[in-house]
């Protein structure tokens, strides 16, 4: 029953397809583990998962090269994982350990792994969009073969900064991709109740390409759409706005319990049946890229990676108190000021 999965030629190598599945599994298992740790009180603060949206995340990230930049939002564990980040320092960050990617100062909401090209995720929705545009600007001016991709939600798509950023990027033909992860809700608010027209169509008003990926549960479909936009950006033909339709399987944030059930049971059921990892597993088997046993093996490998990340986290110390007073400025007078 995978007839909705894109029929595609052999342009995506087998290894890459398997890597897609591996990275989707990494996100799923990493985040399921993290949510368990939230429930056990091992992870403090707020945590938003991309469970259900893995195809959209991985399809986009794997259309990028290592030197390309990404900027994310509050729901951004998947983005660095999708781009190949190590799990240990990410998990350690969620717990607030010294070995975390941000030395325990960012947490889930402000994760950034610069080693994979991340410009950081923003706890303020929409706020990182112009940052990605700036990375594209520097690539253009410095003549570097680099593009930038900005991830934001359907909620953020209604923030003014997006339109300033799109206009600037189009006017300057910057190598940037605006990727709207339309999971159909901004917290409890259904997108269609607060959104005039279709998001992807707004691109036309700025003289840039607008693309709709109707099936964001299909990793290949997402990859192909983003790949084309990336090629366009690299050629110097400017930005693209891509709207990817998807669904989050879990609550907006872990531990959030709303009295009002804002999502229809039937709708939920429909989307839960469109689990991107299960769908792609079927595709891989059907295309004889891997058999069930090999894919089980892959899942076991990833599960072990996640356990290793947790072990790394457990064995890591918490940061020394003085770390709270570092990294504000590049010079040293910061400590004197804070004291």
């Amino acid at each position: 029953m995978n007839n909705t999965q894109t029929e595609r030629g052999p342009t995506i190598p087998r290894d890459m397809m398997l890597e897609m599945q591996r990275r989707m599994l990494r996100i799923r298992l990493f985040e399921e583990r993290a949510s368990k740790m939230v429930r056990r009180g091992q992870i403090p603060g707020t945590l938003h998962t991309s469970v259900g949206q893995e195809a959209q995340v991985v399809g986009a990230c794997m259309a990028l090269r290592p030197q390309d930049n990404i900027a994310g939002n509050h729901r951004s564990h998947g983005h660095p994982i999708g781009k190949g980040a190590k799990l240990g320092p990410l998990m350690a960050e969620l717990v607030g350990k010294a070995t975390g990617v941000c030395r325990g100062k960012g947490g889930s909401l402000h994760l950034a792994d610069a080693s994979i090209g991340s410009l950081g995720e923003s706890g303020i929705t929409g706020s990182s969009i112009p940052i990605a545009v700036g990375a594209a600007f520097s690539a253009q001016i410095l003549g570097e073969d680099r593009v930038a991709l900005s991830f934001f939600g359907d909620g953020a798509a209604n923030q003014g900064v997006l339109y300033e950023a799109m206009n600037l990027a189009s006017a300057w033909r910057l190598p940037v991709i605006f990727l709207c992860e339309n999971n159909q809700y901004a917290l409890s608010t259904p997108a269609h109740t607060v959104t005039g027209g279709r998001i992807w169509k707004r691109a036309a008003g700025f003289g840039m390409a607008g693309v709709l990926v109707e099936d964001g549960q299909d990793v290949i479909a997402v990859h192909d759409a983003v790949h084309e936009a990336v090629e366009c950006a690299r050629r110097g033909d400017g930005p693209t706005l891509i709207e990817v339709m998807t669904y989050r399987f879990r609550e907006h944030a872990e531990g959030l319990r709303l009295a009002v059930d804002y999502r229809d049971a039937e709708e939920r059921e429909h989307w839960l049946n469109r689990d991107p990892i299960k769908l792609f597993r079927e595709t891989l088997i059907q295309k004889q890229i891997a058999d069930a046993a090999a894919l089980d093996g892959l899942e076991a490998e990833v599960a072990q990676e996640v356990e290793d990340a947790v072990k790394f986290t457990d064995e890591s110390p918490y940061p020394e108190p003085g770390v709270a007073f570092e990294d504000l400025y590049t010079d040293t007078y910061e400590l004197e000021r804070a004291s």
Binding site: K105, Y329, A338
Partner: protein, 344 residues
């Protein structure tokens, strides 16, 4: 050495910085046509020294009126290899990009654990005192001082404007420079060679022994005028210009007050939670024992800026107000003397 105006010195520093480092770019509204006079030699495009001619559109570029996107893009560009100078023209327009200043520029390096640096300069001019009304007369540096992670510069002379801007461009942290439009025509001997003025080092503009006047930005020339007049009345006033508000050279201020025993702080910005309040608090904490009189602040009141010149003029500090404030703190010399007598 050569005589330069304040605005000329800013233009000279920008040219030097552009010539010294190809990663330095200037973006902003109307910068290509040199509308604000800091990106060319004169007002005509053809004139020698035009930045667009010299550096090309990859190094200097007009932006749309999109402050949030411009500021954000400059931050992103700074995180990925450029060293942008953003000309935001009027300081009042900074509010349009408040989220980018506060949540991105100031926080990114910190919250990402020092993984990146953000070498970007945001220049803007404070047009107060020119009948530009409430939407164009802001002096907003105090609110940005309340945001850890930004460096705040407020030059009050041509030589400082040039040297501080070069240091700002060298800085690997975001720097906000607040220029004073009323000082644009102010002249001073300036070194045409490259030089930098370190942040966090105040400039003692006049030495004195009876009272310390700390003056901010556009208040500095007023304080110097007042000090001159006070000298004729037998009062020796020391005038200190902190030059950078973050970092702030506390030591020079505190040391001066320990010697003079009196402090007047002059600031064209609003009174509450302002630079003057901050400096007063520092001195109260660190040099209370040396004070011979209560600290006096001469600031703009917590009032919006009216349009009519007859209404606006009364709002800001003047040399007269500074003189009166100094006289009031020096008058307590007598009461102090009498209390010493009565105690003995």
């Amino acid at each position: 050495m050569t005589v330069m105006t304040y605005i000329g010195a800013i233009g000279a520093a920008q040219r030097e910085a552009m010539q010294a480092d190809p990663r330095v770019v200037i973006i902003g509204e109307d910068v290509e046509a040199n509308v604000y006079g800091t990106t060319g030699a004169g007002k005509a495009r053809a004139e020698k020294g035009d930045f667009l001619q010299e550096f090309g559109r990859n190094r200097i570029r007009n932006t749309p009126i999109s402050e949030e996107a411009i500021v954000g893009a400059a931050i992103g560009a700074a995180m990925t290899g450029l060293r942008p100078i953003v000309d935001l023209s009027y300081s009042s327009f900074l509010y349009m990009a408040m989220d980018q200043f506060v949540n991105q520029a100031a926080k990114n390096r910190y919250m990402f654990g020092g993984q990146n640096s953000i070498p970007v300069v945001f220049r803007s001019a404070m047009f107060y005192g020119l009948s530009t009304g409430a939407h164009h007369s802001d002096r907003p540096y105090p609110m940005f001082m309340n945001v850890p992670g930004l460096k705040i510069v407020a030059p009050a002379s041509p030589s400082d404007a040039k040297g501080l801007l070069r240091t700002a461009v060298d800085s690997n942290d975001p720097v906000l420079i607040f220029e004073t439009c009323l000082l644009w025509g102010l002249k001073e001997e300036v070194d045409e060679e490259e030089y930098r003025i370190p942040f966090g080092v105040a400039r003692v503009r006049r030495e004195g022994s009876d009272v310390t006047i700390v003056a901010i930005a556009g208040a500095v020339p007023l304080a110097l005028t007042a000090a001159e007049a006070l000298a004729a009345d037998g009062i020796s006033a020391e005038v200190i210009d902190p030059r950078t508000l973050v970092p702030l050279d506390k030591d020079t201020i505190v040391e001066s007050v320990r010697r003079t025993g009196r402090l007047v702080v002059v600031d064209p910005a609003h009174r509450s939670c302002g630079v003057a309040a901050e400096i007063s608090a520092i001195v109260a904490e660190e040099a209370f024992g040396s004070l011979k009189a209560p600290i006096v602040r001469v600031t703009s009141p917590d009032m919006q800026i009216p349009f009519s010149p007859s209404l606006e003029a009364q709002i800001y500090p003047t040399a007269e107000k500074i003189k009166a404030a100094v006289k009031s703190v020096c008058a307590s010399r007598a009461s102090e003397a009498s209390s010493n007598i009565s105690r003995s």
